[in-house]
């Protein structure tokens, strides 16, 4: 039974983590007929509902105060369609993406201006004006002005005219945008207003605008208060009985606005930061980004988070639409996670500096920084960490300490400034800080703290130096002494790719829908990589430097496919019978020989030789030596070596059998043979340099090689950097995959969940010895929990004694203590202790944590003790005393054993709560279990494993410790001890 429960729980967990069903897209509404039985949003007081009912007797309605509200309801999915005057709907749609107006209208109407029935003169003037406008195209201009496809109507043109002929009183209802409305400068403007203005100008009369209720317009006209009325007035027979309508000014009607299915899910595409101005934006709490966004996007909902992994998780889980990162960090995150994209670059640029408590130390640092800058080391450090490929490290530094120590507070989770790998400090800031410490003869002590606590740490004297890509601001400068800027950082806004693509994402239908969503391995900087990025934007890309690594990853099911050149794929398949090469060729690019752009002569000569070889069949022969689809051995021929001068320096990536590879310590293959033959014809000996594929172009550019002959495809991008010869071989890009996973089956090609779990496990726990982080965190958590429980129990007993004793002052103190401690949130108390109470003293975070939790635990257990003691019957005490025991001995021998029995079960519960509560110690720079998972998450961006792992560990810890208490409880149970 128990095992069953476990399995069920595991299943649930797995289910919760792995099932991510895409939200079903709402069925799009294509035509009016689709709305036969729909629910319409209409404006109360209009006749739109009647008009809809005439057409669709089965329709139902929701009533809204304005057309905008009705449309918003449609956007939110509350109503299927909004029915209202078409031009006004169009106006709303233009300003609210996600709406679509059905081309077929529910009813067709015409809008016109109206005059008094006897004022034919004015009607004729208006009709003449309209005819004129239509004829000379100004009417279309007006239409474009007032009915834009997107956005708000353009401003009303300024018009001025002489008015010798008196006044034209114009009645309108300025809530009928775009016909008549009040603009930002509080003027009544609009299509009808412009028409009226033009009419007044034509007549030489001054236009006097009367803004009134819609229903008041006709009475005002008839009573002579106005001469002309217009505001999206529909021409009806009934109205025509009392007023004289001009020719129609606009043809419209009641239209239906529906959700645009192209942007299903009401997720309009973002094109810049302005698009998320009213959305949710994640920032790091207390950062300058926070300040900037808060100041500039007052309508955004700002999610303030503690660290980058949380922000990324929020972004990826749809809890926010954009997240602001430092540009470098953002770039690294994007490389790690292809679903991320830049929404806006360089929102603003900031100077980063180190913060110091001591001005003298700051000055020393500035001097140190100046030296580094002068020697160029600063740039080097910056470049090293910005391009951290997993191998960057801080050089070994002399162990300082002769001049004391340097307490460095930093988050340690902020790439590329401050982070950890294999428990070693990494990042620009940490390298600078550690070098500085070494220079000063100080022993560095790194204290991990949340970003928001850094300033406080240095201000309260808990740290000597803070560094974490901290922007120098005036406000901060009041609290800390900033160094000179060591770095200029730009902030980028990241969002999910899908937000950018919006509804315009091309559907990857066709032969390989599964590849589109798979994880694909490619060589860094290869054609394949570019191809995958272009063709399968939703696929995950893992980059490898070596095709063998990619194949290993494929076999380990870390990637689903590997894209590579055909020859390479063939070769890999030969070595690994379980690999399959898919027949589809993704490009037909020619491989060519690359030379430096400034060397056209060499290029010419190479081309000439190639031409010659193609003509005499040598090229075909060379290819046949090495490309052997039947799997037969290569044909190796000895190419004579020219003795000329200078040698031709050839860069080749010799890890691509059969194009170029190493055999018997010699670089051989199609490319080497080809270039050797070419060189022979040119009369030059060949010197090969084997390098990484991604370095080939750079080698050529920097002059380290004369030619690159390494199955290099001549892409547009590369052509900008180097010159290419004629193509010598078509080596199409193909996909390799494992044979047991035929794509034709259409099965899900993502790795199975055990495989993903395994990968996640390896990444999060094994790699970089991360288990050590967790183990150390676990020890810290256990230490804090156990020691604070012990200390808290003793302290609790003391408080209980005061509370139950006769001394009134002590009693009052105990009461106050208990209610105070129970009334303060733990995390606040913890920070108070660390940053205020113990700030002047040099006490480690662990000690502060133990003390704080003990204080808190004492408050709870003292009351528990009191209840336990009071639950022992009075008669027990009396019997003890009457027997001759002193009060104290009575307590020890009679009351306490009974009280303990009753307290233990409750105590156990409180203790478990304490164990879990210790998870907040990360706030004061203590690296506990939770913090360990934060650090891991900051490197792997994987929430599942670190969190589940830590949850399980907490459970085991709490369970183990309570089992211990349970054992004690059983032992002290007198009935258990009965002989």
């Amino acid at each position: 039974m128990k095992r069953f429960a476990w399995i069920a729980a595991g299943g649930l967990l797995a289910g919760a983590c792995l099932s991510c069903s895409p939200a079903g897209k709402p069925a799009g509404v294509a035509s009016l007929e689709d709305l036969k039985t729909a629910r319409f949003g209409v404006v109360s007081g209009t006749v739109a509902d009647q008009i809809v009912l005439n057409r669709f007797p089965e329709a139902t309605f929701g009533y809204y105060p304005s057309p905008l509200d009705a449309c918003l309801a449609v956007l939110k999915g509350k109503e299927t369609a909004a029915a209202y005057d078409e031009p006004i709907l169009r106006n709303i749609q233009a300003q609210n993406p996600g709406l679509k107006i059905l081309p077929e209208m529910i009813s067709v109407d015409q809008y016109a201006m109206a005059v008094r029935p006897d004022d034919r003169e004015l009607k004729d003037a208006a009709d003449a004006l309209l005819a004129e406008l239509r004829a000379d195209g100004r009417y279309d201009e007006m239409k474009a002005r007032w009915f834009p496809e997107k956005g708000k109507p353009a401003p009303m043109p300024e018009m001025a005219w002489e008015a010798p002929n008196g006044i034209l009183d114009f009645g309108t209802c300025a809530v009928t945008e775009p016909f008549s409305f009040i603009d930002d400068s509080r003027r009544v403007v609009g299509f009808d207003v412009e028409l009226a203005s033009r009419l007044a100008r034509r007549l030489g009369r001054e236009l006097r605008i009367h803004n009134m209720e819609f229903g008041a317009m006709i009475p005002s006209l008839l009573s002579g208060k106005t001469d002309l009325i217009a505001a999206c007035i529909t021409v009806t027979e009934e109205r025509a009985k009392s007023v004289l309508f001009t020719e129609p000014v606009y043809r419209g009607g009641i239209a239906a606005a529906v959700r645009d299915s192209a942007v299903a899910g009401a997720a309009p595409a973002f094109s810049g930061l302005a698009d998320v101005a009213e959305k949710r934006i994640a920032v790091m709490v207390g950062s300058t980004h926070d300040k900037h966004i808060t100041a500039n996007f007052p309508r955004a909902e700002i999610l303030r988070m503690d660290n980058a992994p949380d922000m990324l998780a929020a972004l990826k889980s749809g809890k926010c639409e954009a997240a602001i990162f430092d540009a470098n960090a953002g770039r690294l995150y994007r490389e790690d996670d292809p679903s991320l994209a830049v929404l806006a670059e360089k929102i603003f640029i900031e100077n980063l500096g180190f913060g110091f408590a001591d001005v003298r130390l700051r000055d020393a640092f500035n001097a140190f920084l100046g030296e580094l800058r002068a020697t160029g080391e600063l740039d080097e450090i910056r470049r090293k960490w910005e391009g951290d490929d997993g191998a960057a490290a801080i050089p070994d530094l002399p162990e300082g300490g002769e001049n004391g120590r340097l307490r460095i507070a930093t988050t340690t989770v902020d790439i590329p400034f401050s982070y950890t790998r294999e428990e070693k400090p990494c990042g620009i800031d940490l390298e600078l800080a550690l070098r500085f410490a070494a220079r000063q003869g100080l022993k560095p002590q790194i204290q991990p703290l949340p970003f928001a606590s850094l300033i406080a740490a240095v201000a309260s004297g808990k740290a000597d130096l803070i560094c974490d890509g901290i922007t120098i601001t005036e406000e901060r400068a009041k609290q800390v002494a900033f160094s000179d800027a060591y770095y200029q950082s730009a902030a980028d806004a990241l969002t999910l790719k899908e937000h950018l693509d919006g509804g315009n994402r091309p559907e990857e239908t066709g032969s390989k829908p599964d590849i589109a969503e798979a994880v694909i391995g490619a060589m860094t900087g290869s054609t394949g990589e570019a191809l995958v990025r272009e063709r399968f934007p939703r696929a995950g890309i893992h980059l490898f430097d070596d095709v063998m690594d990619a194949v290993a990853a494929l076999k380990a099911r870390k990637v689903d496919y590997v894209i590579t050149a055909y020859t390479t794929a063939l070769q890999a398949a030969r070595a690994n019978p379980d690999l399959a090469v898919l027949p589809e060729e993704y490009n037909q690019a020619w491989a060519a020989i690359a030379v430096h752009k400034d060397n056209p002569r060499l290029l010419e000569r190479i081309n000439a030789v190639l031409e010659e070889m193609r003509d005499d069949g040598t090229l075909e022969e060379i290819i046949s030596h090495w490309v052997r689809p039947d799997g037969s051995p290569y044909v190796k021929t000895e190419v004579p070596r020219a003795s000329g001068w200078p040698a031709l320096r050839v860069a080749v990536a010799a890890n691509r059998e059969p194009m170029g590879f190493i055999e018997d310590n010699k670089i051989v293959g199609l490319d080497p043979e080809l270039i050797e033959r070419i060189a022979f014809k040119l009369g030059r000996p060949v010197v090969f340099t084997d390098m990484k594929f991604s370095a080939l172009i750079a080698a050529l550019e920097s002059g380290k090689a004369d030619v690159v002959c390494s199955n290099l495809t001549a892409t547009e991008e590369r052509r900008r950097r180097v010159a290419f010869s004629e193509g010598y071989y078509v080596n199409p890009q193909v996909m390799m995959t494992l044979k047991d996973r035929p794509p034709a089956a259409g099965a899900a090609l993502r790795p199975s969940w055990p495989a993903r779990l395994k990968k996640s496990f390896v990444d999060n726990i094994i790699r970089e010895k991360r288990y050590l982080l967790i183990w150390n965190g676990l020890k810290v958590t256990a230490l804090i929990a156990v020691l604070s429980a012990l200390l808290g129990t003793l302290l609790g007993a003391l408080i209980c004694l005061m509370r139950m004793g006769r001394n009134r002052a002590l009693k009052a103190f105990a009461k106050a203590y208990i209610s105070l401690l129970r009334g303060i949130p733990q995390v606040v108390l913890l920070m108070l202790m660390f940053y205020v109470v113990f700030a002047p003293l040099d006490v480690s975070g662990v000690a502060v944590a133990i003390f704080t939790f003990a204080l808190n635990f004492a408050a709870y257990v003292s009351e528990m003790f009191r209840a336990g003691i009071e639950s022992v019957k009075r008669g027990q005490v009396e019997a003890g005393v009457a027997m001759g025991f002193s009060r104290f001995r009575t307590f020890v021998h009679i009351v306490l054993p009974q009280a303990v029995q009753r307290i233990l079960p409750v105590f156990k519960g409180e203790f478990v709560a304490l164990v879990k509560m210790t998870a907040i110690v990360g706030y004061i720079a203590v690296q506990d279990l939770t913090k360990a998972s934060d650090i891991i998450r900051s490197r792997t961006f994987d929430a599942f494993f670190p969190l589940v792992m830590v949850a399980v560990l907490y459970f085991i810890l709490a369970w183990g410790l309570t089992s211990l208490l349970e054992m004690i409880r059983v032992r002290v149970n007198p009935k258990r001890r009965r002989p």
Binding site: K873, G875, A879, G880, A882, M883, G884, Q898, R978
Partner: protein, 388 residues
């Protein structure tokens, strides 16, 4: 000023109390208590509830601190701060109404904790003695039981044994049977009787009058915060001298009940009679007879003839007063019904009576007499011994 013990040196006085007073805040519980307890004496302390019997006892071992007066134990002033109250208490055992056994210990541990921790006996010694004491109180078989596994009577016997384990000079019993089911009272009293026979000095606060009479050398009747009257049991129980004592003794001998009209609560009445009979250990048959006679008499009084008129008449006569009395010497139960003279007769008989009730009553009583005395109708019935 230090008072000297007037009888210091007269070896047989164990406890002497002078002008003992105790008040709880405003409430004066003990006003002026003077008493002497000699070695080997068994003192019963009786009296109505709330007159300070228990407080007096608890003052003796200083569980309550007296507000005034003096107590000498063995010639020592126990209120002198130089004297250790804990040492005093070791010499004075106490048995509580609610037993107060140490709940987290076995019976044996309850008996050994005192000797081992306080008297510095070895565990072996203490256990041997404890087992002897358990045998004395009849619980040798239950030494490993926990208190909550024993009946009330057994717990109280263990409590007595626990007192004895400390070899006290006196045992104070604070209503030792009040919390017990009636069926368990006698097992506890049996143990106390046994101790009395062995010459243990004891002071017993009790409501068991018969027991008090049997077992004690002297009886203290406490009332109004003082020992109102004291003397040998025969004197107190049979010939109390002072008024309150007499009233108290009468009350415990007699059961009184007032019936205002025909809507009286028969069950309440019967429960009262049963409780009274229980106190005096009436055999069940005698109780049944008594109840039947009362019921039939009331039936005759209210129901015969014109019931409505009778009811009016009874309430007009000021209702009926019933007194049930029991005399131990004669072993005789007497029923007394009285009412105003206007009622004329209580055993109302009319022409329609079938005489059955009358016959039943007559069958169960030895004598039945109705007469008018001092303006009251009085019906006197003396119960016959059941079965005779």
């Amino acid at each position: 000023m230090k008072a000297s013990c007037p009888s210091a040196g007269s070896g047989d006085v164990l406890i002497r109390v002078e002008h003992l007073a105790k008040c709880f805040g405003e409430t004066v519980v003990l006003k002026d208590v003077n008493a002497e307890i000699k070695r080997g004496e068994v003192i019963s302390i009786i009296g109505p509830s709330g007159t300070g019997k228990s407080t007096f006892l608890r003052c003796l071992n200083l569980l309550e601190r007296p507000s005034g007066g003096h107590i000498w134990v063995d010639g020592r002033d126990v209120l002198d701060p130089r004297n250790d109250p804990n040492a005093l208490r070791r010499k004075m055992g106490m048995v509580f109404q609610n037993f107060n056994l140490f709940e987290h210990m076995t019976v044996l541990d309850n008996l050994t904790i005192g000797p081992v921790k306080l008297l510095r006996k070895t565990r072996g010694e203490a256990e041997t003695r404890a087992r002897g004491l358990l045998a004395l109180v009849g619980l040798a078989a239950r030494e490993n039981a926990f208190p909550d596994e024993l009946s009330g009577g057994q717990q109280q016997r263990v409590a007595i044994a626990r007192c004895l384990s400390m070899d006290p000079e006196i045992i104070l019993f604070d209503e030792p049977t009040s919390a017990l089911d009636p069926t368990m009272v006698s097992e506890v009293l049996g143990v106390i009787r046994r101790l009395a026979a062995d010459g243990m000095t004891m002071a017993i606060v009790t409501h068991e009058m018969r027991f008090a009479r049997d077992v004690s050398r002297r009886v203290f009747y406490m009332d109004e915060g003082v020992i109102y009257e004291e003397g040998p049991p025969a004197g107190i129980f049979d010939a109390p001298k002072r008024e309150k004592t007499r009233a108290f003794i009468f009350r415990i001998r007699n059961f009184q009940y007032h019936i205002a009209d025909e809507k009286y609560d028969l069950y309440d009445l019967k429960a009262g009679i049963e409780a009274f009979c229980g106190r005096h250990f009436f055999p069940a048959a005698a109780v049944a007879d008594l109840l039947l006679v009362v019921e039939e008499t009331l039936q005759l009084c209210f129901r015969e003839g014109d019931a409505a008129a009778r009811a009016g008449l009874v309430s007009g006569a000021g209702g009926l007063d019933l007194t049930v009395g029991y005399s131990e010497q004669e072993n005789e139960t007497t029923l007394l019904f009285t009412a105003g003279e206007v009622l004329k007769t209580i055993l109302n008989e009319t022409a329609e009576s079938d005489g059955l009730s009358r016959a039943l009553i007559a069958g169960m009583t030895r004598s039945l007499r109705e007469d008018i005395r001092g303006g009251k109708v009085v019906l006197t019935a003396v119960m016959r011994e059941p079965g005779s």
